[in-house]
Amino acid sequence: MAFAAEVLVTLLGAGLGAVLRYALGCWVNHRLGPEFPWGTLAVNVAGCFTLGLLEGAAPDDGVLLFVLGKGIIAGFTTFSTLMLETLNLALSREHERAFFNVVGSLSLGLAAFLFGTYLGAAAV
């Protein structure tokens, strides 16, 4: 029964994460213009950093990592929008931007995750 409750909280967290992504992503896109999908990049990097913090601070707490990592944080970040926006950039013949969108998201995401892990471990 406890597992069912964990899953429920995870799903509700993912819904909340999606709403946060909607709000933050649209706000960033509005501020930084339509030339590049900054909103998705910001959301994904922020999500990776937060997950890194959690991973560093509580590497052995499987329940917390599941509920937050698979819930609010995973719902907050998105892979599909990244793919669609990359495709749209490539179709608009903006190949450099499309390339940077993929490579930049991946390298910044990894860096943010590793940095978060380091900070989280240092803080505990």
Partner: protein, 242 residues
């Protein structure tokens, strides 16, 4: 560009003749039209307006671009490159604006202010929770059925690739046909956004590196490649079926 009108007494308000050009393109699809409008905005063309011909409500699409002639003609090569097959015609005329000479440059492209709307947020929330359910299901099935799932998380990968395929279908439908805002909020921002995940993907790639750099690199690379391929496939398929 702005000249003093010849032979006229300086009268208020000052009339500033400028040469305006209007380019009309015929994009081959609404998707192409959308791309050209995006490009026009990026270039800073003063006005880009799309409209349909009148035949049966499904007539050809026209895209009308308006700007000062010299500026617009400078943009034409790039527009041609972006849509080599779209017929293009240009007219120029001298227009006398009783207004500041930077009339065409001012304020036209100001984006609308953004406001998150509560009723949208409700649909995003519902879609997000259900999308996460589908992702957990795929990950659960993957880790149950595949023994080395921890080393190579097929379940997450399946969710990410399937979501990329579906979002390309929705993206194309958004451009080519009408998709209601509510449906976009639920399916695209909610369900598909939450079905797919970037943070878990990065986490798995980073942690997999410690166990097996080879598998981790394959996982990281193939997720992106398959995701992009799935999106291209979704787009092509939808455009063919429409």
């Amino acid at each position: 560009m702005a000249q003093e009108p010849n032979g006229q007494a300086a009268s208020a308000p000052r009339a500033t003749p400028i040469v305006v050009a209007q380019a009309t393109l015929r994009p081959q699809s609404e998707l192409e039209c959308e791309r050209l409008i995006r490009l026009s905005h990026r270039l800073g063309i003063a006005s880009a307006t799309a409209y349909r011909g009148l035949e049966d409500g499904e007539g050809p699409i026209f895209l009308m671009l308006l700007d000062e002639a010299d500026l617009l003609e400078g943009f034409l090569p790039e527009l041609r490159r972006a849509a080599p097959e779209a017929p293009l015609s240009v007219i120029r005329e001298e227009a006398v604006h009783v207004s500041p000479s930077d009339f065409l440059r001012g304020g036209v492209l100001e984006p609308k202010p953004f406001r998150a709307e509560a009723r949208h947020a409700a649909w995003v929330f519902a879609g997000g929770a259900l999308g996460a359910g589908a992702r957990l299901l795929l990950e659960g099935v993957g880790s149950y059925a595949i023994p080395f799932h921890a080393l190579f998380p097929f379940g997450t990968m399946a969710a990410n690739v399937a979501g990329s395929f579906a979002i390309a279908i929705f993206g194309t439908l958004l451009f080519e046909r009408f998709v209601e805002e509510r449906e976009r909020m639920f399916w695209v921002l909610g369900f598909l956004g939450s079905l797919t995940t970037f943070s878990s993907y990065v986490q798995q790639t980073a942690q997999g590196w410690e166990a097996s750099p080879f598998l981790s690199a394959i996982y990281g690379g193939s997720s992106i490649v398959l995701g992009l391929l799935a999106a291209v496939l979704g787009l092509r398929l939808t455009r063919r079926l429409l």
